[in-house]
């Protein structure tokens, strides 16, 4: 199984770079994951990543797009609570790219 290496520790991931164990995630690792996506992380990215982690801990799944936009609007202001803003932050789609950097499993299905 392929793996990321950080500070002498290995972190296994799948074919597309999603972490296999969500509990192994840490912020340093997120930076490596983001680098693989050519995405410099700003405080706005961290806001989204933080919410994804929180939601996953409670529900064992990434939030639906609408749940995410609504929560971001509530927490960080209405100008951030829309799809366009999230796509600007994560051009490959908030659902997949943001999940990957947050260490969540890739959402599957007809999405």
């Amino acid at each position: 199984m392929p793996a990321y290496e950080l500070n002498g520790k290995t972190y296994e991931h799948d074919e597309e770079g999603y972490l296999l164990d969500v509990n192994q995630w840490n912020e340093e690792l997120a930076a490596i994951l983001a680098k693989g996506e050519n995405l410099p992380l700003t405080s706005e990215h961290w806001e989204v990543i933080g919410f994804l982690r929180e939601y996953y801990n409670e529900y064992q799944i990434a939030p639906a797009v609408r749940v995410l936009t609504k929560a971001i609007a509530k927490k960080f202001g209405p100008d951030k609570g829309n799809n366009k803003y999230l796509y600007e932050l994560f051009p490959y789609g908030p659902g997949k790219q943001a999940c990957k950097i947050a260490g969540l499993p890739k959402p599957t299905g007809c999405i």
């Binding site: 064992q60 939030p63 659902g95 299905g109 999405i111």
Partner: protein
């Protein structure tokens, strides 16, 4: 944007036959399923040592089980009618993506082991041994078929490539060589109840949020009920409707229609998926098991009707096979079709005045519609032939100021696949998805330029996700794609005629 060449769109949709580029898609194949995805489905964890004997054995089983498969493998006369009808061929130029060539991948092995002439004369009659190379070719090119059945419309013998493709995938699964995307998803359905892996509490939270949104937006208490016993209707919808855009606008539309019609309804957290990926891998057993989740939920909740949301292959399985797999439905209300499509449900209400729509709510929009392959070529809606074409159009026309159809060779039963059907809606096949969308993109571009079309409505979760993803590759905006019931959601007059 992409590490492959994006096709250039032609101005003449469906009339351009590409030059052959042999082997141009030989490099592209989906990730192979792992033991975690295979074993729960009863398949070997990985490719078994005696895969060749097992594969031939399984082919024999299928030939005995499905007479149609043998007829399809026997009857091709190489007339060429199908050659330029596949969107993947038109988009990739790879001759192995011609339907006849795809069929021949399996047909050649069938001839070698199951026909007298093939056993005696081998390559002289187009027969070939099953080798590792052939298996790899199967894996590559049977995962470049979306089982959309457009080619079969043009075949004078009615040979159904989809069925051949399904058989090939079933054989590969039985030797431990299935695809990750489909098998991982089916494993999730059995474990959690839907393709997404959305557990009950997350679904409840999502539905509560939608209730709040609609209340904020309209002032009306439109409910999104889950696991409510005694509801009249069980709504079975693709889990993407809970999760993605523009799918969720469709779900909101269904809820508003139920609300306004005064019909109680519920989703089930146990059967929270309409899509049945068992079909994509050609597995009778998986289709059976997934279908029976719906039966179990309907019985437990004591519903009287089953309505399916906007999902193409779900509707094919529901319309064509649900009774065989999970019937009899004698506990449901016999006055209604079992199952019923949400578009039939809404269209009936529009016709009898049960709901009212205001086209001005969608002012400025010029709509066209993408007929989903499985709806168009494998099912029907309403009680007249061709209802699967007229019912969605009637609903759309009732919601928007202007509707136009795309080129006649690309709609109704000649519709092109979106490029992501048949279990290919996965990122590892993005190159195929973008290239396979080319014929639909050409037809869409034509009506945008000539008729001022602003949006394309879709009635399938896969189509919606696929177009949202590939439109930007062709310079078009992802939010051009709307759910049919997203239009209904905008136009429906809540509180009129009641409250």
């Amino acid at each position: 944007m992409a590490d492959f060449q994006i096709p250039v769109l032609s101005d003449e949709p469906a009339e351009f036959v590409p030059e052959l580029q042999p082997g141009t898609m030989a490099h592209l194949r989906p990730f192979v399923a792992k033991p975690d995805h295979n074993v729960p489905l009863g398949f070997p964890g990985e490719l078994v040592d005696d895969w060749k004997d097992k594969a031939i054995g399984r082919m024999g089983d299928l030939l005995n089980r499905y007479r149609s498969l043998r007829v399809y493998l026997d009857s091709c006369v190489k007339c060429g009618s199908c050659a330029d009808k596949c969107h993947y061929f038109l988009g990739t130029n790879d001759p192995k993506n011609m339907p006849v060539a795809r069929q021949d991948l399996l047909r050649s092995v069938y001839r070698r082991y199951f026909t007298t002439s093939g056993k005696l004369f081998g390559p002289l009659v187009g027969a070939r041994d099953l080798t590792q190379e052939v298996l790899e070719e199967w894996y590559t090119y049977f995962h470049q078929c979306s089982q959309c059945r457009r080619c079969s419309v043009f075949c004078p013998y009615g040979i159904d490539t989809a069925e051949i493709s399904m058989a090939a995938r079933d054989i590969m699964d039985h030797v431990g060589y299935g695809m990750k995307y489909c098998n991982e998803i089916i494993t999730k359905v059995h474990k959690i109840g839907n393709n997404l892996g959305l557990p009950g509490p997350a679904l409840q939270d999502t539905l509560d949020g939608l209730e709040e949104d609609v209340k904020d937006g309209t002032g009306h208490d439109v409910k999104f009920p889950m696991d409510v016993k005694g509801a009249e209707v069980l709504l079975v919808t693709p889990s993407a409707d809970f999760f993605a855009e523009p799918h969720v606008d469709g779900l909101i539309g269904y809820a508003k229609v139920f609300h306004q019609a005064g019909v109680s309804w519920t989703v089930s957290s146990y059967a929270s998926e309409a899509g049945n990926f068992g079909m994509f891998i050609g597995s009778y057993e998986q289709m059976f098991k997934i279908s029976n989740r719906i039966r179990k939920a309907a019985l437990e909740l004591g519903v009287k009707r089953i309505v399916f949301g906007e999902c193409g292959h779900a509707w094919r399985v529901a319309y064509s096979f649900l009774n065989t797999y999970a019937g009899p439905w004698d506990f449901l209300d016999p006055r209604y079709p079992v199952p019923q499509h949400i578009l039939e449900f809404t269209n009936d209400l529009i016709r009898n005045g049960g709901i009212r729509l205001d086209k001005d709510a969608n002012s400025g929009m010029v709509l066209t519609v993408h007929d989903s392959c499985n709806v168009a070529r494998a099912s029907r809606m309403g009680n007249v032939p061709g209802g699967q074409f007229s019912v969605p159009r009637d609903v759309i026309r009732a919601c928007v100021p202007k509707f136009v159809d795309m080129h006649p060779d690309t709609i109704h039963d000649k519709t092109f696949c979106c490029g992501g059907g048949g279990g290919l809606l996965t990122d590892d096949l993005m190159e195929l998805r973008v290239k396979g969308a080319k014929p639909r993109m050409e037809a869409l571009k034509q009506v945008i330029e000539q008729q001022g079309v602003t949006h394309m409505a879709a009635m399938c979760a896969i189509c919606k996700s696929q177009f949202t993803k590939v439109l930007p590759y062709y310079g078009m905006k992802m939010d051009m794609i709307v759910s049919v019931h997203g239009l209904v959601s905008n136009a429906i007059q809540l509180g009129v005629n009641k409250d």
